[in-house]
């Protein structure tokens, strides 16, 4: 492209209070011709109201089937800097915790090998290195592993697991989301790096039903902290809320979905047998209320975006699972993958697979008993496939 980059349309995005990616990208454009060309192509997209990327090709690092998204410009002559412009998904650490030093090392690597642009982070959770040429993929990978970083998932594999800040900085965490995320990521390196599933499989871990990683909406398998016993109450702290300006009746009592909270004098009473662990009262009165002591996680399966059967939320597969060790979790995941491997179709995610095959059959397949916590309601249609029946000989 021509030396002086003219981006009148993009320049409009330098205005305004929100930090401007255009300003930031421009700060890179002088150092990096590929960034200049990226801006050039983007300006053209803004003018023409269309993208100029070609469909991704199969590129990657040796021995891995995932972690790299191949991307080529549709206008390589006009914008040679982005004729190849692949992204690399660097597997983030649990909870997206970093030190300045560690991040700077990553920046160094990317400044050397790529565009110096990143997504911090990708929607699945990876630290996305945005844009480099095919030849730099392998060297980048070597540089990363030398500093103890590895790539995350892409394609029909286990996708990079991610988790909320959890016990590291949240009082609501019902299990150690960071430890489980680390454990699963390391335990399933092969499944992460070498696509061999029917389709993608995402795992997201939230420490409580607030679900700060959107596990129930965006992960094939959600592992969401929950407790079984009573909400812990600090009545003294509650009395302070009562004495404050807060509208406890309107903000807490009336908002409980099952109406199981009442206030007597300065005491809060909770009918825990009817509490559905929605978190609202705990969220609203953090000093007075805490999640219970008997903690674990619920497992949901099947969330995904709409293609092709419509979006799905995850559905409860195990209402409560002990999280003091992760052995049972490995076992569960193995059984689910085995079933999916055997019964799933190509490009059919686990949620669609369960819907097609039927929950009862799926449960039988992975060896779980049905419990009412798995359903919003029992069936309302009479189309029951009875399996036990009487033969002539027997007594009815």
């Amino acid at each position: 492209m021509s030396d002086d980059l003219k981006t009148p349309l993009l320049d409009e995005l330098e205005k305004g209070a929100w930090p401007s990616f255009v300003k930031d990208l421009k700060s890179m454009a002088d150092k990096k011709p590929m960034v200049k060309d990226l801006l050039g192509q983007l300006e053209k997209s803004y003018a023409d109201k269309r993208g100029y990327w070609k469909h991704g090709g199969l590129v990657g690092v040796m021995g891995y089937g995932g972690g790299v998204i191949g991307r080529y410009s549709a206008l390589p002559d006009e914008f040679p800097g982005v004729s190849h412009f692949h992204t690399m998904r660097v597997n983030q650490p649990s909870g997206w915790f970093y030190t300045s030093d560690a991040l700077n090392e990553l920046f160094d690597i990317w400044d050397e090998h790529g565009s110096g642009l990143l997504n911090v982070h990708g929607s699945t959770g990876d630290l996305v290195f945005l844009g480099t040429v095919t030849d730099e993929l392998e060297p980048t990978f070597r540089a990363l592993t030398a500093k103890n970083w590895d790539l995350g998932g892409s394609g029909s594999d286990l996708r990079t697991p991610s988790c909320c800040v959890g016990p590291a900085r949240c009082e609501n965490a019902c299990y150690d989301t960071l430890a489980l995320s680390y454990d699963l990521t390391h335990n399933y390196q092969d499944e992460l790096h070498r696509p061999m599933f029917n389709y993608k499989y995402k795992i997201k871990m939230s420490g409580c039903p607030n679900d700060c990683t959107a596990a129930i909406a965006r992960s094939d398998m959600g592992i969401i902290g929950i407790w079984k016993d009573d909400i812990q109450v600090d009545q003294a702290a509650f009395a302070e809320y009562i004495d404050s300006e807060m509208d406890i009746q309107g903000s807490v009592v009336d908002k409980c979905p099952t109406g199981c909270i009442s206030v007597e004098g300065k005491e809060i009473k909770i009918d825990n047998s009817n509490c559905v662990k929605c978190m609202h009262c705990i969220n609203t009165l953090p000093k007075a209320l805490r999640v219970g002591k008997e903690r674990g996680a619920a497992i949901t399966l099947g969330a995904k975006a709409p293609i092709v059967e419509g979006a799905l939320f995850g559905s409860v597969m195990i209402p409560f699972m002990d999280m003091s060790n992760f052995e049972d979790m490995h076992d569960l995941i193995d059984r689910i993958w085995e079933f999916w491997d055997e019964h799933g179709k190509n490009r059919e995610r686990i949620g669609e697979c369960i819907e097609r095959i039927g929950l009862a059959t799926f449960l039988e397949g992975i060896g779980l008993d049905p419990v009412p916590q798995m359903v919003k309601q029992p069936r309302d249609n009479p189309y029951i496939f009875y399996e036990e029946y009487f033969e002539e000989e027997e007594e009815a």
Partner: protein, 358 residues
């Protein structure tokens, strides 16, 4: 740069412990409660009495290492070198020393905004758009920028009835969290794929392509003796799934691509169960660089919500209370045939009761 000779693979990410602030390591799992000291500033108090402070700032997510190095420098200066990113792409500085909060904020505000906590509009989950994806019907980073410019006041304050979560996705694949957001912007194609019959036979597996269509709109055919496919345009709903599996079927159409606006989704289990986002505005043409019709539409919904919702009501809960007829009424958005579901479980969205408002 790599110095090892042996090629390392499958080492996974580094252990998170090395990135945890010593105060966090000490009080790991022992946090007692949190407070929001002001927009963008949290304190977490541990059983031990220790307190860790968090300062949260906006990031455009699509950043350069220049931007990144600014963040790491500030972390080194004020946060003992400890920082993290949130599930919605904000950056968080973890401070042991309360006195560092104000100076840090001062420096942050030179190039970004501090906020995004509590009853605010926090950062926007979004996607690649014209910056990197072949599939996009609109740009993502640009939309986020113009929408958040408009709404930045809600990022730096906590004056809304409750959190409002925004999302942008540039095509129906919805790599952003469009299907479960308070307000979402979704890039849409609106015309069927244009088939490149010259390259299709080489690039695409025909059975896979045919099978990819949720609505059975694709049929194998042959043109001049070459196997290819045809699309029944009456059945096509422009989902782009065929293009995902077959590069010879692009949907991009500058004249007709654009965005749709969605409302009322929610993820948390607080009060109500999670809710899907529902259609508010079927189509607004792309109008870069600042998409004024889109920012107006989003701002209108936010403001009508801010004015009418009760405390602790998310957008979806508010609409649940007032009913959809009133939502369309209050926002002035037109109700059209496109709002009527006609997909798999359409019947379950029909009004099957007399409970209605007039």
């Amino acid at each position: 740069m790599s110095t090892t000779t042996e090629r390392r693979t499958d080492i996974g990410p580094p252990h998170y412990e090395q990135f945890l602030h010593p105060l966090i390591k000490k009080n790991y799992g022992q946090w007692k409660y949190h407070e929001v000291l002001r927009p963008g500033v949290l304190s977490h108090t541990a059983e031990s009495g220790d307190v860790i402070y968090t300062v949260r700032a906006a990031s455009p997510r699509l950043i350069s290492t220049n931007f990144g190095r600014k963040l790491t420098a500030l972390a080194a200066k004020y946060a003992d070198g400890y920082l993290r990113f949130t599930s919605r792409n904000n950056v968080e500085f973890l401070l042991a020393n309360k006195d560092n909060i104000d100076p840090l904020i001062k420096e942050l505000e030179e190039f970004t905004l501090v906020g995004g906590t509590g009853r605010s509009i926090t950062n926007v989950v979004h996607t690649q758009g014209w910056v990197h994806c072949h599939s996009s019907a609109t740009d993502a980073s640009g939309l986020v920028k113009v929408v958040m410019d408009e709404l930045s006041d809600y990022f730096t304050s906590m004056k809304l009835p409750h959190k409002v979560r925004l999302a942008v996705a540039c095509c129906l694949n919805m790599c952003g969290a469009v299907h479960a957001s308070d307000i979402a912007i979704l890039g849409v194609h609106r015309t069927p794929p244009r088939i490149d019959h010259s390259t299709l036979p080489n690039l695409c597996e025909i059975p896979t392509t045919v099978a990819s269509c949720p609505n059975n709109a694709i049929r194998p055919t042959s043109i001049e003796g070459r196997s290819t496919v045809k699309v029944d345009e009456d059945k096509c709903m422009y989902c782009g799934n065929c293009y995902t599996v077959c590069p010879a079927m692009p949907l991009s159409d500058p004249l007709n691509d654009g965005v749709s606006i969605w409302v009322g989704g929610k993820i948390s289990n607080a009060r109500t169960e999670p809710m899907f986002t529902k259609l508010a505005i079927p189509y607004i043409p792309n109008n870069p660089p600042r998409w004024p019709e889109v920012t107006d539409a989003v701002k209108n919904i936010v403001e009508v919500y801010a004015k009418n919702a009760k405390p602790f009501e998310r957008v979806g809960e508010w609409i649940g209370r007032i009913g959809w007829p009133k939502f369309f009424d209050l926002t002035g958005i037109e109700f059209t045939k496109y709002h009527l579901d006609d997909f798999r479980h359409a019947g379950t969205t029909y009004k099957r009761s007399l409970q209605n408002r007039y």
